[in-house]
Symmetry: C2
Subunit: 420 residues, 2 copies
């Protein structure tokens, strides 16, 4: 089955907005073993839309159109869809009632413009949008099924996952319950992960798309995805559970967290559960550890203080230019212990760094120290590469050592990104 | 003149990589009054590429193809281009010599694969790539001019700006010297900027594309762009200088910086020029001020220390739970003065915040204090909106107050994003 994605809108065409909607839709489809064959972007322009609908209908079995369902004059999707399908626009009374209620709930009267959002091509299949004013719909153009979806990302996400993917799977004749399991790791590169996991899924399952393994790199993290399709939840469990268990075994301590959890929330939750608190000292990572932790509400209770400086003499309690700490794991641990004393935190993470950016092969040396009432941990590593890259790695390694310390895992397992 | 952008590659088509190349190319074209009419994305697949080239050639006058110029078997652009143009592939001897030298310079022997990168359609116009192994080329397919560019972003950026844009402007018959002038502001929303500047450029100039005004929002900053085309540099000056002066006058103190300078580098350079140093205290902005400043090399000399916490009692020199500072501009100034004493910095910026996230209209109250040997400044503001949004605004307002203090501008000019 050939599927196309057709994104509409001047902002995307002219580059003012980066087209993340295409990549979102294509990723969800790929995870469901639905192959995206072509992508088109056109502006809010009747002639282009008409040509694009016709050409897509000649190439594909299904087309997802994104955008152009708004209430303004430059939103043309319904009108061009009706013309291309050779039918009139009709008012969907049910959606009109819902639209009026939507505005009433917000203490407003629906503007006249918005009636346009209830006008669908005659005979179109209605597709619900529970969180917005642009409903979706599906219609056939030249024997190709067109699905129209809103351009607002969160409305589109929900419609794609809940409404469009199941319809496409049904069109393809596959079973329609799907599930996506995600593992987030740090320290294993994509090519090693690929080799480590190559025989977890048997080739028949991978080819059939019933159980699929995929990777996505968000450096410094790697996301490993297992996607499954089956007739019901029990079959999904039967497919996924053994593969999940095998992945957990092979990726081991490198797994930071699963699904929607993040490394930061795992650390903050683990600390909060034992009424523990944290302070940090960061050198070259420049506030990145603080910034990542403090995005989360739990940090208001857990995080006492972060001290950030490039200058070692600023890392003491009272800055003492006479005797800056040397950059070593011993210093990092000593600073961590002193930091707990001065801020009243139970746990302290200290990341000292020495950057060597002048040479042909720039690098950062990291000396990490952790202290809590149960003891201390330390880790040394050298990361190579350009500054932005190594600082990202340094931030991640600091947080990862804290996670390993908290969970009782070894903090010194070598990662792929460090000098061996 | 109708122009299309055709991006190739499985990674983009399947959403694994977001297509930022399309938006980059489209933006550069739009700034040069070159209209992008259509966008296509196809995978590394001979049949799709052939169809895409044919259809684009029937719709457009010029097509920019991006990607598929690499040395591996899935890089098909040259081969499909030659077939579509009805010619053979020929080895470009000049490029082959350059390729071999490229590898020699790096102490390596060129792999056999890379010969492929010197194979161009017979009669194609060679387009130089001074920083990579994939040269560009141009060829006619069905009377439409196709420009082939590498997928590696920094190679593509340079080829688009230096080679493709001038050729397109020449095709269109316009004068070929172009310049882009950019102003970065904080505190003025796009719609107000649009009204403020609406008569800076006369409608004839705007319509002709000789002098064009445009906006791009990167919240909390707004980028205002002036783009000009002329026959030579003197004509460019004559077109741009009066408009630039008028923009500077109207946007006034809200201009953070121009062109490639950033707010952070302006602050760091201004401090460095007078051998001054800076310390900061951040509350809810969570390390974002530190993180932005410390990305820049100058911060190693200028920035003494940043202290980051959600907890007011942690903001004193020695954490004192008994008497946390109240959240007021007086406290912020007092903390700034104390911070200079304890860290030895000449300048201190303190951003205290009180978040109210429970109500229907969440907000942050900001109390900013600045101290240096010449005196103090203070600023209070309330920003409304969801947490991530207001924290971005708070970070920017803190840095902007410091800029205004350093340059002798009033720190209390109201911004569009605060409660009036």
């Amino acid at each position: 089955m050939k599927i196309e994605i057709l994104c509409t809108g001047d902002e995307i065409l002219t580059g003012k907005t980066v087209n993340t909607n295409h990549s979102y839709i294509a990723q969800r489809f790929t995870e469901n073993a639905l192959t995206v064959h072509w992508g088109t972007t056109v502006g809010d322009d009747r002639e282009s839309l008409t040509t694009a609908f016709r050409q897509a209908s000649e190439r594909a079995d299904a087309v997802i159109v994104n955008g152009g369902l708004g209430p303004t004059v430059d939103d043309l999707s319904q009108e061009v869809a009706a013309a291309a399908a050779g039918v009139e626009l009709e008012c969907n009374q049910e959606w009109l009632v819902r639209l009026k209620a939507y505005y009433e709930d917000r203490g407003r009267v629906m503007p006249e413009n918005n009636i346009k959002q209830a006008m669908l091509p005659a005979g179109a299949e209605f597709i619900d949008n529970p969180i917005g004013t642009a409903c979706g719909f599906a219609v056939d153009i030249n024997n190709c099924r067109f699905f129209f979806t809103p351009g607002v990302p969160r409305e589109m996400y929900r419609m794609i996952n809940e409404q469009v993917v199941p319809r496409l799977l049904a069109m393809r004749g596959t079973k329609v319950v799907t599930r996506l399991k995600r593992f987030h790791t740090f320290g294993i590169g994509e090519s090693r992960a690929d080799r480590l996991l190559e025989d977890v899924i048997n080739p028949d399952e991978q080819a059939s798309g019933l159980l699929k393994l995929g990777f996505q790199t968000h450096y410094p993290q790697l996301e490993t995805k297992l996607s499954a399709q089956a007739g019901n939840e029990e079959e999904l469990d039967a497919l996924l559970k053994p593969a999940e268990a095998e992945l957990r075994k092979r990726l081991g301590n490198f797994i930071l967290c699963e699904d929607d959890e993040s490394l930061e929330t795992l650390i903050l939750n683990t600390l909060a559960e034992s009424d523990s608190t944290l302070s940090c000292i960061e050198m070259t990572t420049g506030g990145a550890i603080a910034s990542r932790l403090m995005k989360h509400e739990q940090s208001k209770q857990v995080l006492k203080q972060c001290r950030v400086s490039h200058q070692p003499e600023q890392l003491h309690e009272s800055p003492t230019p006479e005797s800056p700490p040397d950059i070593s794991t011993q210093s990092a641990v000593a600073l961590a212990e002193a930091l707990n004393l001065s801020t009243g935190s139970t746990h302290a993470l200290v990341v000292l760094t020495r950057e060597d950016m002048q040479t042909k092969n720039p690098s950062i040396e990291l000396c990490i120290g952790i202290a809590d009432p149960s003891g201390t941990s330390q880790r040394q590593a050298i990361l190579q590469g350009r500054t932005g890259w190594t600082r990202l790695g340094a931030t991640e390694l600091g947080l990862d050592c804290l996670r390993r310390h908290l969970l009782g895992f070894p903090v010194d397992e070598k990662i792929d990104f460090e000098q061996q």
